[in-house]
């Protein structure tokens, strides 16, 4: 493939002598095209090997014996329970992390206080620590023999081996996404528009809802997508905190693992496919949402802008008013 691109022109001694690659030089163009193709092949090949092939295998194995075993596996009560439990946890953890993430991003980007650098590091901690360690730490803190165990038991609150603990574990492991995706956008939009709003009489709340949030919304949306995907798939921390009680504290990833260990291959593959489809649906939903809203709003900008990559970070690299220069 690369030979056909570069080999179309015979190499005469003269051209080899001073082969300064110029624009419009067919040989240089050919070489550039070959390089580009090569890079693409490697990138796609890598992706195919690591991601596409295994996922395709799961799909293949799932539907290998037709739809009836799949239907059976999907309607199995424990599978159903795991499915809804996963959704429940996501439905609580993701909004929590969204609000927290936006607040954190505002604090870190707009606030002036001591220990900001430390806070910025702390927020990345869930990425750095293994989820298993987070799970263990939660058991130590909230478990029966744990630090808060007595107080929780007295008040009849069970955290570990029940849904609250699983929500906490999920929230922790997916904590940094919204803040980390929102912060660069906040930095890029600068403070001019917010200050303009304040001189026009808007209070902090009005400024946030009407100026800041609309400006950072794509960053937030992307953060939410990542948070959702991460929360749906979380295994390590939840595995420890939940106690893995079938039909009670078993989320979809835990269910997949349990089925697999019990040699129920169809059950494991089917649940895995459901998980993959959920994640895929999240991505598609958010992509549609972004496109729709963007078409209504500022996206109807100058004609030349319409070919902006639709996904994933529409705000990055776009001049959003330019950096706020400090004159004087």
């Amino acid at each position: 493939m690369s030979s056909s691109a570069s080999g179309s022109i015979a190499l005469s001694p003269e051209t080899v002598g001073h082969a300064a690659p110029r624009r419009g030089d067919p040989r240089a163009d050919g070489a550039a095209r070959a390089r580009k193709l090569g890079v693409r092949t490697v990138a796609l090949g890598y992706l195919a090997l690591l991601l596409l092939a295994p996922v395709a295998m799961i799909f293949y194995r799932t539907f290998e014996h037709g739809l009836s075993p799949v239907w059976h596996a999907v309607t199995e009560p424990n599978a159903q329970h795991a499915f809804w439990l996963s959704l429940e946890i996501v439905a609580i953890a993701v909004p929590l992390n969204t609000v927290f993430g936006i607040g954190m991003a505002l604090l870190l980007e707009r606030g002036r206080f001591k220990g900001k650098a430390l806070l910025g590091m702390l927020i990345d901690l869930p990425f750095a620590i293994s989820p298993v360690v987070i799970g263990l730490a939660l058991v130590l803190a909230y478990g029966k023999t744990g630090w808060l165990g007595d107080w929780l038991a007295e008040n009849g609150i069970q955290v570990i081996f029940s849904v609250p603990g699983m929500v906490i574990a999920t929230a922790i492991v997916s904590l940094p996404f919204v803040a980390r995706e929102t912060m660069p956008v906040l930095r890029e939009i600068g403070t001019d528009a917010e200050q303009a709003a304040s001189t026009l009489g808007a209070n902090g709340w009005q400024t946030f809802w009407r100026i800041t949030l609309p400006a950072i919304r794509w960053g937030v949306v992307y953060g939410v997508v990542l948070t959702t995907a991460r929360a749906l798939g979380e295994f390590g921390a939840v595995s420890i905190v939940s106690g893995r009680i079938e039909g009670e504290t078993q989320t979809l990833p835990l269910y997949v693992q349990a089925r697999f260990e019990n040699f129920d291959v169809t059950g494991a593959y089917t649940a895995a496919v459901v998980l993959a489809l959920l994640a895929f649906a999240t991505l598609v939903l958010m992509n549609l949402l972004t496109r729709k809203t963007r078409a209504e709003g500022e996206g109807r900008a100058k004609p030349g802008r319409s070919r902006r990559p639709g996904w994933p970070l529409p705000f990055r690299g776009r001049g959003a008013g330019g950096p706020t220069e400090v004159t004087n």
Binding site: D192, A193, S198, T199, L200, A202, I211, T324, E325, T327
Partner: protein, 318 residues
């Protein structure tokens, strides 16, 4: 309403942005804060608006001390250097913003927005987004947005800085007329002395966080109180410690005894103005500003040696 800044100081870390600055702007006046970048002019403007707080000193607007008041309560209209448009809103919604956060009735907002869009000549563009406007249009939208809430004072930070020369010229003249129409006390910041002289009634020249001189454009040009003002407002020739305006350098046809000889190095025709670069017998370079007529009459050309009369140079005490 009158604006007063009393003994305002502001530091950013170890940098002194403003050092005991006091300014008074009369009711309905149009004043320019003029200075090079880093002189503190924008900081002073932002302190008046309430976007920065002074380390020391006081701000009084219309007789009312506002130093501890947040920007949103001060009743100032502020136009940012890069216009700070609300990009996700139409031109209409940008202009309506101040009224809508005040929860004014819809009919009132509509009427006011239409009136203002007419005033800034953006009538047909109400439904556009900021990304679809040119620099000059954005500038006028920002101005309409600031004026919509009927501010007590109008503050503009380098209002024409980001525009190309022709649009800049038009907008200057237009701002001048607008001010004659609406009479709101206005301060604008600029580093362009020509802009300040053309638009403002009063100019405050700032440098290094201090005020060098305040006065009308003519006062500043004709009687600058120091070297900085002299060289910042209008062109100068520096001869040792003395300063001479290029248009005061006279090129003569015949030596009448009071002149020195000079060699013409270069003649630059700028239209009506002709710039003549000269070398004096002692080797110093100066330039003279003459009219096209004079240049033609004397047939000025490169390499010519002519008598030149220097006026009494201005010397400032160190």
């Amino acid at each position: 309403m009158a604006i007063e800044a009393r003994h305002v100081s502001k530091h950013f870390g170890t940098f002194t942005a403003l050092d005991d600055v006091s300014v008074t702007v009369g009711d309905g006046a149009l004043m320019a804060l003029l200075g090079p970048s880093g002189s503190g002019k924008s900081t002073l403007l932002r302190i008046i608006a309430g976007l920065e707080s002074p380390d020391e000193g006081e701000i009084v607007i219309g007789g009312e001390p506002v130093t501890d008041m947040p920007a949103r309560s001060r009743g100032v209209g502020f136009v940012f250097q890069h216009y700070a448009p609300f990009k996700h809103m139409t031109v209409h919604d940008n202009v309506a913003f101040g009224l809508s956060v005040r929860k004014r009735p819809k009919s009132e907002i509509e009427a006011r927005v239409n009136e203002l869009l007419g005033l800034v000549r953006l009538d047909g563009l109400a439904k556009r987004y900021p990304s679809q406007l040119s620099g000059g249009q954005l500038q006028r939208m920002a101005l309409a947005r600031a004026l919509a809430v009927q501010p007590k004072v109008l503050l503009l930070d380098e209002p024409f800085g980001a525009l190309d020369a022709q649009v800049r010229g038009e907008l200057r003249a237009w701002l001048r007329r607008l001010h004659d129409e609406i009479h709101v006390t206005t301060i604008f910041v600029t580093h362009d002395q020509e802009e300040a002289m053309e638009v403002a009634e009063q100019i405050v020249v700032m440098n290094d966080g201090r005020i060098e001189q305040a006065g009308s454009p003519r006062e500043l040009y004709e009687s600058p109180s120091n070297e900085f003002v002299m060289s910042f407002i209008g062109p100068v020739n520096r001869i040792g410690d003395a300063f001479v305006r290029p248009h005061d350098v006279q090129i003569l046809a015949h030596d009448d005894g009071s002149a020195t000889e000079a060699l013409i190095k270069r003649v630059v025709h700028l239209g009506f103005e002709v710039r003549v670069e000269l070398t004096l017998p002692d080797g110093r370079d100066i330039w003279a500003q003459v009219t096209r007529g004079t240049a033609q009459e004397l047939e000025l050309h490169e390499g010519q040696i002519l008598p030149v009369r220097l006026p009494q140079p201005r010397v400032f005490a160190a």
